[in-house]
């Protein structure tokens, strides 16, 4: 038993302590968070715009929304990431992580748009009519009446999408970014140890997402304030 512990400790030291390898993981966490955060923001903006396109009565907008969702959902996110990085932004001088975040935002936007669309449709038509009958414009009605109610309905689905997005960023190694996954992978190659770096990677992702889930559930409680009966 003691010998087993000693061995685990030795592997742990080799993988994480020696050559300051923990720093790789630490900066990897930074990259993952940076990319995910920006991607979530871009995703929500694109998602909202595409949702409005899909809900619009105007044919051209409907087509744009439809094609966007269709193409993004129909292709793998690795492929999208590489196309955006190596083709679309090939000659643009932007930080790698920003380009990656744009790629994930573009991807997430398609899914977010469907969530938002469903959320808006879930609000009774009478709410729009009441707003418009008071003289509010369509956009005022959307911002002040429909959106605040829709957010409550879509929040759980949106949280789920964020979590998927964070895990999805584990492919940024494809464009040469050192995130958590890539750092774990790097340690694996450097030490010829598979178990410790990969389990370590998994634990870091798990803890990150656990923290996020807890934070989001606090926000959701706040959103439900007006549900008192």
């Amino acid at each position: 038993m003691n010998a087993w512990f000693a061995e685990v400790a030795a592997t742990f030291t080799k993988c994480f302590i020696k050559d300051d390898r923990w720093q790789l993981l630490l900066s990897g966490i930074g990259v993952t968070i940076k990319v995910s955060l920006l991607a979530v923001i871009i995703g929500i903006i694109i998602g909202f715009l595409i949702a409005l396109c899909n809900l619009s009565k105007k044919k051209p907008l409907k087509i744009i929304g439809g094609v966007y969702t269709d193409v993004i959902r129909g292709t793998p996110s690795v492929t999208q990431l590489m196309i955006i990085y190596f083709v679309i932004f090939a000659t643009v001088n932007l930080d790698k992580w920003i380009i990656a975040a744009i790629a994930f935002g573009v991807n997430s936007g398609a899914y977010v748009s469907e969530i938002i669309r469903a959320g808006i449709l879930s609000i009774d038509k009478g709410q729009t009519e009441a707003g418009r009958s008071l003289g509010l414009s369509a956009s005022q009605t959307m911002v002040r009446i429909i959106a605040p109610q829709a957010i409550k309905n879509i929040f759980p689905a949106l949280c789920n999408e964020f979590i998927v997005l964070i895990k999805e960023t584990a492919i940024v190694g494809y464009v040469g970014l050192m995130d958590i996954q890539k750092a774990g992978d790097f340690i694996k190659s450097a030490t010829y140890e598979a178990f410790m770096p990969l389990i370590g990677t998994a634990i870091i992702y798990y803890v990150l997402i656990k923290i996020l889930t807890l934070l989001l559930s606090i926000v959701e409680k706040k959103l439900r304030k007006s549900d008192v009966r």
């Binding site: 009441a130 707003g131 009958s133 008071l134 003289g135 007006s226």
Partner: protein, 240 residues
Amino acid sequence: MIKVKNLHKYFGELEVLRGIDQHIKKGEVVVVIGPSGSGKSTFLRCLNLLEDVTKGDIYVDDELITDRKADVNKIRQKMGMVFQQFNLFPHLTIMENITLAPTLLKKMNKEQAKKRAMELLNRVGLADKAEAYPAQLSGGQKQRVAIARALAMDPEVMLFDEPTSALDPEMVGEVLDVMKELAESGMTMVIVTHEMGFAREVATRVLFIDQGVVQEEGTPQEIFEHAQNERTREFLGKVL
């Protein structure tokens, strides 16, 4: 005040309104009755363009509102609307429900709007509910708030789309009382309802709509006691 000329409305192939001509004058209380599916609600909803009009003209204060270039939002500010399903905003308090439109549309500042809202809540007997949310109110209370909300924009005319049809019977009275008081104050009103007693008591004019046209109109007495039209008599025979 409101002039309707040859109003037609199609839902797809179905012709719901088949040519309605009406002139609603200031101070009138026009009650619209008729069987369900007759087009009476559609007629009311066309008046503030919640339904787009297929054919025909509607003038409000001599302004052609069915014109493509008409400022719909401005026109709607002159016309309060009360719905069957109340349609209060559930995420806002009663006070916020009432003050939202006046403050957002820059009719008054926050202070004025709040003061006005309290006056209106007093008028409908719900001053103590200002900070409650709609979910905490009964149906009758919700509808009274909805009336206050519409009044907060100081409309020139109030449209009521079956305001008591979704209420429990014991709550109908409180809403009708508010509407009666409003009619007595001289408000121009167009009311679609199944409350015949109320129509008889409050209306200055009754319209009987069936099959998309006004079959008969007149004072409550003319309609309820001396109906000329066969359909009107048949309908009243069933509901009275």
